[in-house]
């Protein structure tokens, strides 16, 4: 018995050392050769939960699906860039949108992309059991949009009423193939969601949940030929580990998580640093279902107690963000620089805290542990609110659970830190965050909802600008939310990677075919 046991152990030991030895020697050269030249490896904190862009709606997921699924078209501040769609025409009365697909489109499995797929995707969004439909491309003001096939490549969308943002919203629609789902619009648990249902320049090679997502060049892509062979998303959840991996050359893309990272990367040879305004708004919101805020003066007290400069300097440092003044981001089409943000007024804040009964209370603040700067922001807010005798209890929740806890009608917490993308048309995301589609616990006054509505129904650009200026002003006056910062997106790549500069949208990169290695 003993002898057998020992010899078994010995065998195991020998094999283990042998394999380990081989591993070390065989790896070194080979791996670094291939990687640098033809694949872009990017770290992520978690893999996508679904390969279906209609179900995967959070930023981290969109980042991974960007090379894999194309939009119809993208409306930027000064131009429209066409992807799957060739054109989209709006009728005189602003109610009918006729969208025409390009005629050489193929799914990654080789089937042609047709109007039927558009209709199918549309119907999936209409099927509320899917819990999808954040894109809201199927509803305008809670009334259904009608989609009709005109010919094999053309679909006409008939709106119940005029909506100025519908044009850019429709462009964001991500198509899914009807044949992969057998035409069944109940797609929530469909197995096809984990198979290749993409249309972008990179197709699926391998998806390992919690580990990696590997994409490779799609030969039949309709656009210009992708130049990098592989795009790889690798799960490295810890920011320090990401940095180590970047310095070791295991990955060749690094989104900086702090000022120090930017500084240290700046000093490294062979690395190029890129900075984009992310177009996001980081804000502090209060939960209207919580009785603490029944007296609006309590909200004012909190807003007035905060020192925004100090928070942004402390949490974001010199590179990573700037103070926010509006609920629209600095990359929003209708962002207005002249809106005044909140200013600190401690005396006023103290007396309001006293009179509203806020002083002496302990309140709960939730933040998303997977979003940068949130913890430091939370700590600084906690510290600053001590000045008005408010005790803040901070609770971090990771990205997977954050929205389930925060976007509820429960009254068990007071404040939360969140962020939203606010690039382009304000009606797409900003409105959703504030009108009860997502952030159902934000107490938006009717007046502001009306302004959102009015902005949606106005097609004249000048007029819209005026409406949105008033809206931003009103939101500030109503103590709706406290926009804290507009973060920058700083990312480092090896300086051999070219084409990163043309693309100014986040999540990067809008068009992966533009990227190449020198």
């Amino acid at each position: 018995m003993k002898r057998k046991f020992m010899s078994l152990l010995l065998c195991a030991a020998v094999t283990a050392t042998l394999i380990a030895g081989c591993g070390k020697s065989s790896n070194g050269g080979k791996e670094t050769d291939t990687k640098e030249s033809d694949s872009l490896v990017m770290p992520v904190s978690a893999t996508v939960t679904s390969l279906n862009g209609n179900l995967e709606t959070m930023a981290e997921g969109a980042f991974q699906l960007a090379p894999y699924q194309d939009e119809l078209y993208y409306v930027d501040q000064d131009e429209t860039r066409w992807y799957l769609a060739e054109s989209c025409e709006i009728s005189e009365d602003g109610l009918v949108y006729t969208m025409k697909l390009k005629d050489n489109l193929k799914w990654h499995d080789g089937e042609a992309i047709t109007a039927d797929d558009v209709i199918f995707t549309f119907n999936c969004n209409l099927n509320t059991n899917n819990g999808a439909g954040f894109s809201n491309v199927v509803f305008v003001d809670e009334q259904e949009v009608k989609a009709e096939k005109v010919d094999e490549l053309t679909v006409a969308f008939t709106l119940p009423e005029v909506s100025a943002s519908y044009y850019s919203l429709l462009g964001n629609l991500i198509l899914i193939p009807e044949h992969a789902f057998d035409g069944n619009t109940d797609i929530k648990s469909a197995e096809a969601n984990l198979t290749d249902i993409g249309s972008g320049p990179y197709k699926l090679v391998e998806f390992k949940d919690g580990e990696s997502l590997v994409l490779e060049k799609f030969e039949d892509y309709y656009g210009s030929e992708p130049q990098i062979d592989k795009i790889i998303f690798k799960v490295i959840s810890d920011p320090s580990a990401q940095e180590v991996a970047f310095k070791n050359g295991e990955i060749n893309f690094l989104a900086a998580s702090s000022d120090d990272v930017v500084k240290s990367v700046n000093e490294t040879d062979g690395v190029a640093l890129h900075t984009l305004a992310e177009g996001r708004v980081k804000y502090l919101a209060w939960n209207k279902y919580c009785a603490t805020w029944n007296n609006r003066d309590a909200v004012k007290a909190v807003f007035m107690a905060l020192n925004q400069e100090e928070i942004v300097k402390g949490a974001y440092g010199d590179y990573m963000g700037k103070t926010a003044n509006s609920i629209f981001s600095n990359r929003n089409t209708f962002y207005d620089e002249s809106i005044k943000g909140y200013e600190q007024n401690l005396d006023e804040a103290k007396s309001l805290a006293q009179s509203s009964g806020l002083a002496g209370k302990t309140i709960i603040l939730h933040y998303n542990t997977d979003r940068g700067y949130m913890e430091a922001t939370a700590l600084l807010i906690q510290e600053q609110l001590k000045a008005i005798d408010v005790n803040v209890e901070i609770q971090g929740i990771d990205a997977n659970g954050f929205f389930d806890v925060v976007f509820t009608d429960q009254d068990d917490y007071e404040l939360y830190l969140n962020e939203y993308a606010a690039i382009g048309d304000p009606d797409n995301v900003v409105a959703g965050m504030l009108d009860g589609t997502w952030g159902i616990n934000v107490d938006t006054p009717q007046e502001i909802l009306d302004l959102f509505q009015k902005g949606r129904q106005t097609t004249d650009v000048e007029e819209r600008a005026a409406i949105y200026k008033e809206l931003q002003q009103k939101a500030a006056e109503a103590y709706l939310v406290y926009p804290i910062a507009y973060p920058n997106y700083c990312f480092a790549t090896s300086d051999t990677l070219e084409g990163t500069e043309d693309l100014s949208t986040t999540p990067v990169f809008e068009d992966y075919t533009k990227l190449s290695f020198k």
């Binding site: 018995m1 065989s26 580990a241 990771d398 997977n400 929205f403």
Partner: protein, 326 residues
């Protein structure tokens, strides 16, 4: 022997049922409506009607009293239906089974490594009791049981991965490379970190056992008769020292499981630990229940095997040993 195994199995069954009740009640008594996880605005922009809510409740087995619900749940678990994950709507069992080999591999390698390292170290320390070599080994083993594994892991990453560049810092493979060698290269640091605690425990155990054996009469007699000490060591002491390791391995299985969870989260190892952490964070209770039940099962089986193996290896040990050990 047969009686011992049957007895042990019966005990295991009782423990298993209790644990399952325990893990079920964690969820049952947790505040809030579990249904909310499906209907929250982050999951669905659509407000369900009451009938739809009831239908969903029925589908998820959330109707009925505690006992019905427990039996329903336990029945489904046994049938292999572990439910759907709340966060991505895919079957829990598939996701767990997908990750299980990674965790088992990590644990297994760590276990082998710690046994292999502990045997010579423990014997040496015991043989040279209180000499400098013993002092060094014992000192290190004290460090080993006192090291916070996650901290040690981070330090290892800094030294071996960042500064020396010997090993990758995270993950289980280089993407696109499918060789076993690559997995092993990724596994070296986590396996070392995971095995440190167990190695230290084993070393201390073997050391004290060796000392005990060396003082036994048969050893002292043999030595006084002129048999070389090394000979005695090889022929007698070794055997009596090594047998109890089997029990030690069994008893330390629990530490190994929780240890692997921590190590996984430090090294971003895609195993059950990482899966469990994100499940806890997203209140994905079907996933939490699945993982806890599986971990307990693995632990119970580990303990059971250790006991039985020990029984085989040393027939003197039967029920009696259990009593005296308490």
């Amino acid at each position: 022997m047969k009686k011992f195994i049957v007895n042990r199995l019966a005990q295991m069954l009782i423990v298993f049922i209790t644990v399952s009740i325990f893990s079920f009640s964690i969820i049952y008594f947790s505040p809030g409506d579990p249904l909310y996880l499906y209907t929250s605005p982050a999951k669905s922009s659509y407000k369900m009607t009451d009938e739809q809510m009831d239908a969903m409740r029925e589908e998820l087995g959330l109707n009925g009293n505690v006992i019905e619900r427990y039996l329903n749940w336990a029945g489904n678990m046994l049938k292999g239906d572990w439910g759907m994950s709340v966060s991505n709507h895919q079957p829990v069992k598939d996701q767990i089974m997908d990750k299980l080999p990674n965790t088992i591999g990590l644990m297994g390698a760590a276990l082998v490594l710690s046994v292999l390292a502990a045997i010579p170290l423990g014997l040496l320390a015991g043989y040279y009791k209180n000499r400098w070599i013993d002092n060094i080994i014992s000192g290190i083993s004290y460090l080993g049981i006192s090291l916070p594994a996650f901290w040690f892991g981070i330090m290892m990453i800094i030294v071996f991965s960042l500064h020396l560049g010997l090993f990758p810092s995270a993950g289980m493979r280089t993407v696109g490379v499918t060789s076993a060698a690559d997995v092993i290269r990724h596994a070296i640091l986590p396996v070392i970190v995971l095995s440190v605690n167990n190695t230290a425990v084993f070393v201390r155990y073997i050391r004290s056992n060796t000392i005990e054996q060396m003082e036994e009469e048969y050893v002292t007699t043999a030595v006084s008769k002129g048999v070389p000490r090394v000979q005695v060591m090889k022929n007698h002491v070794l055997k009596n020292c090594l047998l109890p390791i089997i029990t030690m391995v069994g008893m330390n299985f629990g530490t190994l499981i929780t240890g692997s969870f921590i190590v996984e989260s430090v090294f971003g190892w895609p195993g059950l630990g990482t899966l469990c952490m994100s499940a806890v964070n997203s209140r994905d209770y079907t996933m939490i229940m699945g993982i806890t039940m599986l971990a307990c099962t693995v632990l119970l089986i580990g303990n059971f095997l250790a006991d039985v193996l020990y029984g085989f290896a040393d027939p003197r040990i039967k029920q009696g040993k259990e009593k005296s050990n308490g």
